[in-house]
Symmetry: C2
Subunit: 231 residues, 2 copies
């Protein structure tokens, strides 16, 4: 089984689960990827820990990691971009592979030309921590952050909308932000918060092909990993 | 956390997960019900075990149950009607409450008059084993099985459709079966296979209010259980 450290938020984890299923070419139940999904919404909030020094979720993340491994997970994934702030801590001494949402998502950009501008939208913590910067630079791309007014007016309210179940409202806000970033020269927009693809799907946004759905790319990487591990 | 013994099939488990989230009145992540979902599609098929004496999935179900409890589950649920054939075996010596999809679903019929006919559609194994009969009778209802031709032409093909991802095709077949059973005098139709609500949702069937969605009722019972346990 692949262990999934989720619940940050639950809807994003359910979206990840749905995407793993949809990406699997299955005729019968047994063709699907076995998963053990922890959806624990009690894990301390990630942004305040990163931005304001509030209590770190790392002890709970490590406990979840070890719980999943003890229960039989042979690889791990975490459908939450912000929580990848602690990725190095989670990988350290981890006895099984941990599939990164950051690397999986940046790998999806390989058709873009060297030097392409790639916008990254997500929580303030994800952006402040520059979680995607090194991965983009390594592949020859230039990361582009949204402006502060766009963060305040559209991006952060969209994330709050999805976490409260207002997915259509959230979708309109994400779409507006994506369009603004494309107008500003981005060649692709990384939806680097797993609430955002949920929102864009809810409104069936025509801008989805211009975006990288980080949840979908993590799901794709997990299906590929499982197929290689256990064909 | 509530432990979920799932993967029978995976899409039904994802549907259950989505429904738990949708039924939760949440403003923030931490308002949601913590879940630990095992989606293990390698559990031996239930119908051949019941109908043809093929290898029983009970050892795998017990192992899954114990894995979830060892990982911290304080209650259990299993979003698969057919697997409730082994419910008594799973409840025996189980140190935590196991929330039954059968009781949760029959409780949803309480607005029907005494003596009402309730059709039950599901796998041949669910029907042959009469999984719902006692629970319906105890509440004063009369169970009604679909005809053999309806099973062959619509119900079994619909389940296979969903398991292979053809949810719209499956939806049309389930809808046809539901209409036939209502025409035959049923006052409600229990969608007693967790693939069926997925199919009916996919086509937005107007007959959904005439049905009991067993996945939804199990999700409702789980949310209520968690609220009472940990308000």
């Amino acid at each position: 089984m692949i262990g999934v450290l989720g619940g940050m938020g639950p809807l994003a984890t359910a979206d990840f689960f749905n995407k793993v299923i949809a990406l699997t070419d299955a005729q019968h139940d047994e063709d699907h990827v076995p998963l053990l999904l922890q959806s624990d919404p009690r894990i301390p909030r990630r942004p305040p820990a990163i931005l304001q020094g509030a209590r770190s979720p790392l002890p709970e993340l490590l406990a979840g990691r070890d719980r999943l491994i003890a229960a039989g997970a042979v690889a791990l994934a975490m459908p939450c971009n912000t929580a990848h702030y602690w990725f190095a801590d989670l990988v350290k001494d981890c006895p099984v592979p941990f599939i990164s949402i950051i690397d999986s998502s940046c790998d999806a950009l390989k058709s873009l030309p060297h030097g392409a501008k790639v916008a990254v939208i997500g929580t303030r913590a994800t952006l402040a921590a520059g979680l995607f910067e090194a991965a983009l630079a390594k592949r020859g791309f230039v990361g582009q952050a949204p402006s502060e007014p766009l963060m305040e007016s559209h991006i952060l309210p969209a994330i709050a909308d999805v976490k409260a179940g207002r997915v259509t409202d959230g979708g309109k806000k994400v779409e507006h932000a994506v369009q603004a970033l494309l107008d500003d020269g981005a060649q692709s927009v990384l939806l680097a918060c797993t609430e955002m693809p949920v929102a864009m799907q809810a409104i069936g946004s025509p801008l989805q092909p211009r975006c990288v759905d980080t949840t979908l790319e993590l799901a794709r990487a997990c299906v590929a990993w499982w197929r290689a591990y256990h064909p």
